[in-house]
């Protein structure tokens, strides 16, 4: 009886239905691909999957925070590029990785503040405001190294320092799992707690649910909106570090269309693009579904075009399901 009540309570958590559906979908997809190609089940593939999904998970966390307030952040991909290019360029100039990362983080967070102020304070449509910062951040990414990709990050720092940086973010394992996954997991847990167990988290949901009522209830809409864009920028900057570590250099085109991957991860996991609902656990499932699809389609030899179409269709269905459910409730 108690177990039944417990299960009922879990299902009654708003957004849990969509989250569990995404997890069930994940298992189905994974098993299906595994049947088509048993290598999908191999330990190394699982490790690779976890590492690859980490980027989408981080991007998804940032975009979900913004989407729950009913907004969107189109600058994510460009902030990823800016972060990767800034970090790499500074390291090629001999700046220590820590200092380079700190400078990139500050620049990334600045973009987040600008987004938050434009949307929260000046009430610009988020699509337009972040479209502008998308171009600005990408432009900065281009300019920092004179419109070209950087050299190897160890060129001045030496191989040892560069390796340490690359291993920490991408190539080393802890407890048998790639660090990239652990980093994203820690960030996920921090932001999960922030969203589900704190005042700020409730304010984020309140803004997405009814922004006028939130304001009248004493919620500081401006600062809360800025906070969500800061989370988004922070996650994007970390993904920039990961991409920089993966390639050992800065790539101007890094993070292209990542903002849409973030939307997809969130939406597949049940985060409503209309705001007010969704769980970060769903975003986790969404990122995993996305990566498993990409990985599985690769493993069975599907063309890139097919991969894109399948993923596109799934995203549309996820949003359609959300819209249909809302209409039915109304």
């Amino acid at each position: 009886m108690k177990i039944k009540k417990g299960i009922k309570q879990i299902f009654e958590i708003r957004g849990m239905g969509a989250t569990l559906t995404a997890f069930v979908g994940l298992i189905v997809i994974y098993v299906a691909f595994g049947i088509l190609n048993p290598k999908v089940f191999s330990g190394q593939n699982v490790l690779n999957l976890l590492r690859s999904m980490s980027k989408y998970l981080l991007i998804g966390i940032g975009q979900s925070y913004v989407m729950i307030t009913g907004n969107i952040d189109l600058s994510i991909g460009s902030v990823v590029a800016m972060s990767a290019m800034l970090t790499a360029t500074l390291m090629t100039l001999g700046v220590s990785p820590l200092a380079a990362m700190l400078i990139s983080l500050i620049c990334g967070l600045l973009i987040g503040v600008v987004n938050g102020v434009l949307v929260g304070k000046f009430r610009l449509p988020p699509f337009i405001a972040t479209l502008g910062t998308m171009f600005v951040a990408r432009g900065i990414g281009y300019m920092v190294n004179g419109n070209r990709n950087t050299d190897n990050i160890g060129i001045k720092l030496g191989k040892d320092v560069a390796d340490k940086f690359q291993n920490f973010f991408y190539y080393d394992k802890t407890l048998g799992v790639y660090n990239t996954f652990w980093i994203s997991l820690v960030i996920f847990i921090v932001f999960f707690v922030l969203l589900s167990r704190t005042r700020t988290g409730r304010h984020i949901y309140a803004i997405g649910s009814n922004v006028d009522a939130a304001r009248l209830s004493g919620v500081n809409v401006i600062s809360t909106t800025i906070k969500t864009y800061l989370v988004s920028a922070f996650c994007s900057v970390v993904v920039g570090f990961i991409l920089c570590a993966q390639a050992g250099m800065g790539n101007m085109e890094a993070g292209n269309t990542y903002e849409m991957y973030g939307v997809a991860a969130g939406v597949i996991g049940g985060v409503s693009p209309l705001g007010g609902s969704g769980l970060l656990l769903g975003t986790f499932a969404g990122a995993a579904v996305w990566q498993t699809l990409e990985n599985g389609l690769n493993m069975i030899g599907a063309q890139v075009g097919i991969q894109r179409i399948v993923i596109g269709v799934i995203v549309v269905f996820a949003v359609l399901a959300d819209a249909v459910l809302r209409n039915r409730k109304q």
Partner: protein, 485 residues
């Protein structure tokens, strides 16, 4: 049927799971003002949609201008030439009066806009009712009263023989209502008909030839003018009778009002209309601000909601300047709180506790706090309500939720903007009950309203807001609840 402009015969209308109108019998005669007094709001929206849109019927027939326009046997789905005027404007923003009446409405069959010609056409209609306004005024620049007048004119010019006015007094002032009645009577003489929907008996008594009592999607009774006085108050009281208002309200005015000094003040508030407005609200008092000038009221409403700032002056809480929307010491409750103040995609408990986190430590991180709040409130709110989805709650439960949120917030002042807007009799009684609860907790309540009748039971002071001043109206002691209503 000879002189009927609208006739609804045994109409039953249902959606997938609910019967919204049942055996609905109503007829509106030519040149008549028919009042509808909704004892509750159930089915009212469906009624308004049905007479205009001819929604598919489960049973019954609808005749408009002597033609069968809707029947349970077959579906026409044509729209009837009926105008419904409500608080939300149906005029197109960005377009002037001429365009709204002649180009967007059915006032003219011209394809090319010839403004001077249209102005010539419009002028006699304006003069006919003594309505002075530039035909080139944009829709968004109109006051609420002007907007209603333009919508009536558009209806008349477009040849709509039936005009429905829905809760007009919730957004236009008292003297404007008097003017509106004159204009309605003017058009009645020309054969136009009106349905006047209001939850206020005295409004219906003043203007309607007959009044229909509506409850739970049914017309209970139709009273003519002579019968109104005799029956309405009785039925009205019965309508509100199940709400534990009347007995609780007794003794309200004995609640101690601390007169140490004002808790909330408006000092020298100056804007477009308001000029040096001053106001002092005492601790625990029930203050009613009634609008005389609609524009001044709207301006004050904007400042309270934080939608704009006055050129000079500000709100002060305990002597310190304050942004009303950014302090938990003041709660602002907008009109139609069941829609505007609810967070539909958050849980009941999240809705309830949202503004209490400054008072209760670890509110969001400790589930035991939520459990203890549930235990504490289950007798008042109902044991199973906490698990329900907020969007599925009844209007009354949503309103209750909003006010309990404020009770948990424990502000010093609660400002309620048009709290009775679109509320039926039972809901109005519930809202008064909630106001009473606020007062019992020592929270001062400031009510901004167009109509003071509902608030008279609790009011310590009633102020009338004109352009630049608030004039205190005298409250007569010892009046009966029913008489005041």
């Amino acid at each position: 049927m000879e002189n009927e402009v609208l006739h609804m015969s045994r109409v039953t209308y249902k959606t997938e799971d609910r019967v919204l109108l049942q055996d609905f019998e109503l007829s509106v005669l030519e040149g008549e003002i028919l009042g509808i007094l909704p004892l509750n709001g159930y089915g009212l929206k469906a009624f308004l949609e049905l007479i205009k849109e001819n929604l598919p019927l489960y049973f019954g027939q609808v005749f408009y201008e002597k033609k069968l326009v809707n029947s349970w046997k077959d579906m026409h789905r044509i729209t009837n030439d009926i105008t419904v005027i409500e608080d939300v404007s149906s005029l197109v923003a960005g377009q002037d009066i001429l365009s709204n009446i002649y180009m967007i409405g059915k006032g003219s069959d011209q394809y090319f806009i010839r403004e001077q010609e249209l102005e010539k056409k419009l002028r006699p209609f304006l003069e006919d009712i003594g309505f002075e306004i530039s035909p080139y005024t944009k829709a968004e620049a109109l006051t609420a009263f002007e907007r209603v007048m333009v919508e009536i004119l558009r209806a008349v010019i477009s040849g709509h023989r039936l005009i429905v006015l829905h809760e007009i007094s919730s957004f236009i002032g008292e003297w404007q209502m008097v003017r509106l009645y004159e204009i309605m009577n003017h058009y009645v003489k020309q054969g136009f008909s009106f349905i006047f929907i209001s939850g206020h008996v005295e409004e219906l008594k003043g203007v309607c030839h007959r009044t229909a009592l509506m409850s739970n999607g049914k017309i209970l009774k139709i009273l003519d003018r002579e019968e109104m006085d005799r029956h309405l108050l009785k039925i009205y009281k019965e309508g509100a009778g199940n709400v534990p208002l009347a007995n609780k309200i007794e003794g309200t005015k004995t609640i101690s009002k601390n007169q140490d000094g004002p808790v909330l003040e408006i000092r020298n508030m100056t804007g477009q209309i308001l000029q040096g407005l001053e106001l002092r609200v005492a601790r625990g008092e029930y203050l009613v601000i009634k609008a005389k000038d609609n524009r001044a009221f709207e301006e004050l409403r904007r400042y309270v909601l934080g939608k704009s700032s006055p050129k000079e002056g500000a709100f002060y809480l305990n002597g310190k300047k304050v942004d009303l929307t950014q302090t938990r010491d003041v709660a602002v409750i907008k009109e139609r709180a069941d829609e505007t103040m609810i967070f539909p995609r958050m849980s009941y408990m999240d809705n309830l506790m949202l503004t209490a986190d400054h008072r209760i430590k670890n509110l969001w991180s400790s589930p035991s706090i939520a459990r203890s709040i549930k235990r504490e409130l289950k007798d008042e709110l109902g044991e199973h309500i906490f698990e329900k989805k907020v969007e599925n709650l009844s209007q009354k439960n949503k309103i209750t939720l909003v006010y309990y949120r404020v009770l948990m917030q424990r502000p010093k002042v609660a400002i309620c903007i048009l709290p009775f807007k679109d509320a039926d009799i039972r809901l109005r009684a519930r809202i008064m009950d909630m106001h009473h609860k606020l007062l019992k907790k020592g929270i001062a309540v400031v009510t901004l309203t167009m109509n003071i009748t509902d608030t008279m039971l609790l009011a310590d002071r009633v102020l009338e807001l004109d352009k630049n001043k608030l004039t205190e109206l005298k409250i007569e002691e010892g009046q009966d609840y029913g008489e005041k209503l």
